[in-house]
Symmetry: C2
Subunit: 239 residues, 2 copies
């Protein structure tokens, strides 16, 4: 039986997928906080559906790393692993450096133009808009870099890697300083326009390493949203 009250006004797709999308949004936007408990039963009744589609949504979200299902105990919003956040950042830096390297010899004037426009938008949103909006613009910027480099599909994988980091950003509205990132974007485009591969690589590395600079502060502000925080204190675990 279809649920009495449709989940969305335009109920497209399976109920399970709708529940999945809703909860995913709530986690990423921060209205469901790390370590918070989610009961299949409660979620089911709040959405007016049975337990089964909720359960299947939980399985999907657990596969995405957003939920943690502890058998016979409960389901919780996954805390952000500092260790794996650092790892994904490293991967991202490696990939984006490669993209920049591919991009330098083939970038066009139209690309430069488009990137400049995007930076102008970012400047606007950085002061007035919400962090969620800025994240969208930021992703669009990096996606354009990948497309111009001739590897548009790479963005899909990078954005999947970024999910955990974006959770951090959304949670930390105050600590989050978008204007620094905008300046770094501008530095990247400047180097690209000059055709200076070395400078462009340096700029993108500096940009992505900004995350490593901000992270300790954020972790200190929201300590119980994270786990594996020990990698921050003990920089080297060798005795």
């Amino acid at each position: 039986m279809r649920p009495l009250i449709p989940i969305s006004d335009t109920p497209e797709g399976a109920v399970s997928l709708q529940v999945c999308a809703r909860i995913r949004d709530q986690i990423i936007r921060g209205s469901l906080v790390p370590a918070q408990r989610l009961s299949e039963t409660e979620v089911a009744s709040s959405f007016d559906v049975s337990r089964q589609p909720v359960r299947e949504a939980f399985i999907r979200l657990a596969a995405e790393g957003l939920l943690e299902i502890r058998p016979q105990r409960g389901t919780y919003v996954r805390r952000i692993s500092v260790a794996s956040a650092l790892t994904t950042r490293l991967i991202r830096e490696a990939v984006e450096v490669e993209l920049i390297r591919m991009l330098v010899p083939r970038i066009t004037a139209a690309d430069i133009e488009s990137l400049r426009q995007q930076i102008a938008q970012q400047e606007d949103v950085a002061t007035k808009g919400s962090p969620a909006d800025f994240i969208l613009l930021d992703e669009a910027f990096h996606r354009h870099l990948a497309e111009a480099a001739g590897a548009p599909d790479v963005s899909d994988y990078l954005e999947a890697l970024n999910v955990q980091m974006n959770r951090v950003r959304n949670m930390t509205v105050r600590e989050f300083a978008p204007d620094i990132l905008v300046a770094q974007h501008r530095a990247i485009v400047d180097a690209l326009e000059a055709g200076d591969a070395k400078a462009a690589e340096t700029a993108i590395r500096r940009h992505l390493r900004q995350f490593n600079i901000d992270l300790p502060t954020i972790v200190a502000s929201y300590p119980d949203y994270f786990k594996d925080t020990d990698v921050l204190t003990s920089h080297d675990t060798t005795p």
Copy 2:
């Protein structure tokens, strides 16, 4: 109720997870071929469990990219997307180059020694063993590179990316020439031992680009195991 006939001799964990692991193995090892149909009902009765855990296993495997659930139509073993295989290979090259770059200044004599031993093992298995065994050794080799570079967790992500490519390898026992890969591994270690960063980068790039050389042959041999094959013919889609 537990299933009458336990799925494994040591029935650890939920039934759903056991079914998931079994099917995953069958797909990767190639006994379930791409585009093959899988019915919830049939799989359930063949494993002597109910449909629900099978269904949940399907959802997990779909999230991993191994199955494709088409609502109300059927569930099929996913064909390998040539486009995304090329993309993940590019990502892998970028990351492993970065790892090599991190590794060169800090590699130890013990690392070299261990890598040489692994290459010796690979040589053995390349002639006598199965491709599945060789893949294990290959993954161990690259994992050691990541560990020695100080980023052990990176391997987990890379191996996840490699799932699709490993399916290709397992399917193509004959086209697959492990001895070439062993020689390339040796070239990498040679460059590392010499402390030659540039040579090491070149060696790892050449090694990983071997996949691009082999892929067209494999796709031609097993055309209906793949999709998005057009990216191979039209190297450039710009008019």
